[in-house]
């Protein structure tokens, strides 16, 4: 459904048999929704679904690149929260300033991650766990522990509402741009090859003379920038900078990446499948909402966290079964 024209589907399927499941599950769930709920296929539902999930797609793409190098970024949710506060403060200057400002704020925190991981050689999960704290503290200090209302008079609030050429909302268009950018970067540049090589074996990549440090620095800064952009969407979509948002986002992002067939040990993965993973996870909640609306089930908001965890567990369980099976057959990787 995304990018179908920009890449060779057959070659993709052949090279990514273990991410085939996510596409099958996604299309099956869409078919299920279309048949069961009459409002499922409406423009309104599709638009609000994509608008809301655009934030999760963004952090998932950043997370995908980080995980491909064998690292992890646990700070994405709070970095997004921090950037949403920055963007809200910048909103009176218009979207032209607030959007790059939010992205830069995220990239700045990402570069601190890169510094602690690469220069200070702190394990990625400790470094980004500390950044979780730091970004949360930063967001609270900056906002005075309150939501920061955006300037409704400026065009900042219009980001999610106005449409490019009256067809596609800007948020969705921007996300599409990031997807294509990340995909081209990974599949068609030296940097992308290096990122995959690091995940395969960091020592071997280093010995081959690849610029491992630069590539690793790039993925953490890129992940920060993606989280920053997600923060801009958050502020614009909800009308305020949200210093307390972002809880559990890292879990959603990791789940999306893993669902998309990316190995947690790094070295393998695909951007389109990660996006499909994010959409699949979002779709589960969308369908649960419809079921709630029909009255067949009644789940409180607290179930969200439980379901996210259960979903991640299921995916990891299946992936580890596949991995253990292919490990016993050394010919297939």
């Amino acid at each position: 459904m995304l990018n179908e024209s920009t890449f060779d589907l057959r070659r993709y399927i052949q090279g990514n048999t273990h991410s085939l499941g996510v596409w099958v599950a996604l299309f099956a769930l869409i078919a299920f929704g279309l048949l069961r709920y009459e409002n499922f296929g409406t423009v309104y539902n599709i638009e609000s679904f994509l608008n809301y999930n655009s934030m999760f797609i963004l952090i998932s793409i950043g997370m995908c690149l980080v995980i491909m190098t064998g690292g992890i970024d646990l700070s994405v949710g709070y970095v997004a929260a921090f950037s949403s506060v920055v963007a809200a403060y910048l909103s009176p200057y218009g979207i032209e300033v607030a959007l790059p400002g939010g992205v830069l704020a995220g990239a700045a925190l990402g570069s601190i991650n890169a510094f602690t991981i690469i220069v200070m050689r702190i394990p990625p999960f400790i470094a980004t766990l500390a950044m979780m704290l730091g970004a949360k503290g930063g967001a609270l200090v900056l906002s005075g522990a309150q939501t920061v209302s955006i300037d409704w008079g400026s065009n900042f609030s219009q980001l999610g509402m106005t449409k490019a050429l009256d067809v596609v909302p800007w948020t969705i268009l921007i996300v599409l741009g990031v997807i294509v950018l990340a995909w081209i970067l990974l599949e068609h540049t030296n940097l992308g090859r290096t990122i995959l090589a690091i995940g395969g074996s960091e020592d071997a990549s280093m010995l081959m003379g690849l610029n491992v440090k630069a590539a690793k620095a790039f993925v953490y800064i890129f992940s920060g920038a993606c989280a920053g952009l997600a923060g801009v969407f958050l502020a614009s979509g909800f009308g305020a900078g949200q210093p307390l948002e972002g809880v559990g986002w890292e879990l959603s992002a990791i789940a999306s990446v893993v669902v998309g067939g990316t190995l947690l040990s790094g070295g393998l993965g695909s951007i389109p499948a990660t996006v499909a993973g994010a959409l699949l996870l979002g779709l589960i909640f969308n369908i649960l909402n419809f079921e709630n609306g029909k009255g067949t089930i009644s789940l409180s908001a607290y179930w969200q966290l439980v379901i996210r965890g259960a979903f991640l567990f299921l995916v990891i369980f299946l992936q580890s079964r596949i991995l253990n099976r292919s490990a016993s057959k050394p010919a297939s990787a």
Partner: protein
């Protein structure tokens, strides 16, 4: 790793002298020096620091961190990590009041009270079993495996309580948080007893030998016939059980259970305490009393910032910096 270092003796490391100073000395005794500096600063600048009340407040706060940090040290000794400790605290803490305020608990107060201690700890053990099985049987990285309960464990606690704050008045249960023995808080003694028990387990039992051997070199330990999977599961179960106890203590102190806040960010405090206390993230060492020393330092830092009027939010950033610096000093000391 030939002989695993059992507990608190730091492995001797030689470091190049910088400007004539033996930096190795600083790194080896950094924890004690940091503690001395913190105490000196507080005695000089924090008003009312040398009061019994201050001691009580700090003991009751440090105990929960210390208990969780001891469990975290066991998991880290296997080369793993447990992010779910805070969520397990919330889960155990949410279950206890549910049990003794239920109709069963009201009808049979004694049985209800016993169940209110045992069932939450059983639930915590189940969480540990889940983490351990994910890590050792499905071979999922510990960060990812424990991330599942990190989020959904708290979710389950919130679903159980419907997100409500549960308040109660039950003097017997509250004894866990407010009781005193020889004038000192009961949970301080409990924490000490638990730490001694775990220290004995690590230094005097075959389980402890296996634990350190796995962290030292998992493959070698496996080839030497160590029941790697069982020992790893044991470490995660112990860690989760200790977290469960800490969760009950927090609830008993407050006479209220708040699933959203109980144990929030505890995993960070516990990891920091363990690392400051000398645990090595690659595994192979289990300095139990080091973890307690680390917990005391973390608590003193918090208290110092708070008592001197630094805002909570800034304290978060300070804590993040301390964690990074502690891990940095530790990894650079190993090189």
């Amino acid at each position: 790793m030939t002989t695993p270092v059992a507990a608190d003796e730091p492995a001797h490391k030689t470091a190049r002298p910088v400007f004539g100073f033996d930096t190795g000395l600083l790194k080896r005794n950094g924890t004690l020096i940091a503690l001395a500096l913190l105490l000196a600063f507080n005695i000089l600048f924090t008003p009312n620091f040398l009061q019994l009340q201050t001691l009580f407040v700090n003991i009751s706060q440090v105990t929960t961190i210390a208990i969780v940090a001891v469990g975290m040290t066991l998991v880290i000794a296997t080369g793993g990590i447990d992010l779910s400790v805070g969520a397990v605290m919330a889960l155990a803490g949410a279950l206890a009041p549910l049990i003794f305020t239920s109709s069963f608990g009201v009808e049979y107060p004694v049985l209800g009270l016993i169940a209110a201690f045992i069932l939450p700890l059983l639930a915590a053990m189940l969480c540990g079993l889940f983490n351990g099985a994910m890590v050792s049987y499905l071979r999922v990285q510990p960060i990812i495996a424990t991330l599942i309960l990190f989020i959904s464990g708290r979710g389950i606690a919130q679903v159980l309580t419907n997100g409500n704050l549960q308040t109660f008045s039950n003097p017997y249960f509250s004894y866990l948080g407010t009781g005193k023995i020889l004038g000192l808080p009961f949970q301080g003694w409990l924490g000490l007893a638990l730490a001694i028990g775990v220290f004995w387990l690590v230094s005097r039992t075959i389980f402890g030998r296996y634990l350190l051997a796995i962290g030292g070199n998992e493959r070698a330990a496996m080839l030497a016939g160590t029941p790697v999977r069982l020992v790893k599961i044991g470490a995660y179960v112990l860690c989760a059980t200790l977290a469960g106890i800490a969760g009950l203590i927090v609830v008993a102190i407050n006479s209220a259970s708040d699933a959203a806040r109980n144990g929030n960010l505890m995993e960070l405090d516990a990891i920091a305490a363990a690392v400051v206390g000398g645990a090595v993230l690659q595994g192979g060492r289990a300095p139990i009393f080091g973890a307690i020393l680390g917990a005391i330092i973390i608590q003193l830092v918090k208290y110092t910032l708070l008592a001197n009027g630094v805002e909570d939010e800034v304290a978060l950033i300070a804590k993040a910096a301390i964690i990074v610096i502690a891990v940095y000093l530790q990894t650079s000391a190993r090189d």
